[in-house]
Amino acid sequence: MGNTLEEHIKRTRQLLECGEVAMVIGYERGSVENRRRATFVKEVSELERMVLDGLCCENLANYLVREELLRSFDGKKVAIFLTTAGVRSVNILAAEGQINPDCVIILGFEAEKPGELDSAIKMLDGEHVDHYADSIQQLKSRGFVNDRAQVIVKLEMMSAEERFAFWREQFSRCVKCYACRQVCPMCYCRRCIVDCNQPQWINASAHDLGNLEWNLVRAFHLAGRCVGCGNCERACPAGIPLMLLNQRMAQEVLKEFNHFAGESSTQLPVLADFKKDDPETFIL
């Protein structure tokens, strides 16, 4: 447990050597210079291909629920490089019964300028999700003050017709590749709603109606569960601003139910819970 990169790497070597972890999930160089991708290290000799810099943006928590990978954990723990958003993902997955948080050893880090190669990297203390409770509370109290919030405000000032036209135009580029679903740690359903065809709720074809339905439903299924890691928006080949939808939902559940996704590994999912005095301003 250290707070320099060298100490993190030393720790991964230690964990692999003593056999406490079956693998270390981190980043390696991608196919071109400015890309990084996930890497799965099982032997100490493979550690040299790991990198950690500002281009390491992907939320790796996604891999903790990939079944092909889970089989190779072999009863041992797994060490994984995660930002605070990733730690929140682990909390949600644990709360939803998908993983055991005691089997995850966290190598925490944050980039000062995510997306930029020369960004400084700060290592975080704490190998278990519980150690991040305070920093997650701090994130919660900061709320959603960012560029996206400004765009959301602008959208809400438009009329419903204008908003519909905006989103119809955005979704018209969707090709239903489902990359957004694939990279999301929260999309772990073995049979996605869009795969159901008896009855078929969502048109699977890539036309405007089906695209609207898919993106709408995915945003709803992520309400109160999205940690804002941005995997989906980065993965989208059509450049759809998915995070606008997801952040709007995160803002909604925070405002209405004081719910912030991933606070702890025992937090009840927001739509699986209720309070006697939940707000109901619009109900007749």
């Binding site: 959208l155 809400e156 419903a160 017709e161 204008e162 908003r163 519909f164 036209a165 905006f166 989103w167 119809r168 709603i193 709720w201 969502i202 048109n203 074809s205 036309h207 405007d208 109606l209 089906g210 609207l212 339905e213 709408l216 439903v217 945003a219 709803f220 309400a223 109160g224 939808l245 709007r248 939902m249 909604e252 559940v253 209405e256 139910f257 927001v270 739509l271 699986a272 819970d273 209720f274 309070k275 006697k276 939940d278 707000p279 109901e280 619009f282 109900i283 007749l284």
Partner: protein, 149 residues
């Protein structure tokens, strides 16, 4: 002579309160707009957002979701789950441009036959002034009509 626009309303209601309330409106011979198509479910907790999407997909101009008052749910807490769900889903629909005025949610008990009739009449009037849900109708037409070369 042009026909006046008649909105199509789909109402998803719970069996033990709102459906019984609608029944009471019927047996009391209350007049209410015939524009509503009622879908009976055991509880509002069972109403999935997919149903609303399906209704819109099939050409509904407005959707009503109605059930027991909080505290009176036949299944104890189904409507309390529904309350959270509709808060979130309605705000999402509104954000995407499906306006609040087309998605109505109410608590109507088995004794409130009058309230049921009133809400249906109010909703029908409001939707008549709003007009058909054109943006969605163009989406549907675009995929159902044959391609033009």
């Amino acid at each position: 002579m042009t026909k006046e626009f008649e909105p199509k309303i789909v109402a998803f209601v719970c069996t033990y309160c709102t459906y019984a309330g609608a029944d009471l409106a019927g047996t009391s011979r209350l007049k209410y707009a015939p524009n509503v198509r009622i879908v009976k479910l055991p509880c509002t907790g069972r109403i999935s957002p997919m149903f609303i999407l399906k209704a819109l997909q099939k050409g509904a101009d407005g959707v009503l979701i109605s059930g027991c008052h909080p505290g009176d749910c036949h299944f104890t807490s189904g409507n309390l789950h529904a309350r959270r769900r509709w808060t979130v889903f309605r705000s999402l629909l509104n954000f995407v441009g499906i306006p609040d005025e087309r998605i109505w949610v109410s608590w109507i008990s088995a004794a409130e036959g009058n309230k049921f009739a009133e809400i249906i009449n109010e909703m029908t009037e409001k939707l008549k002034t709003l007009g058909p849900f054109e943006p969605y109708k163009t989406l549907i037409r675009d995929i159902e009509s044959p391609a033009e070369i």
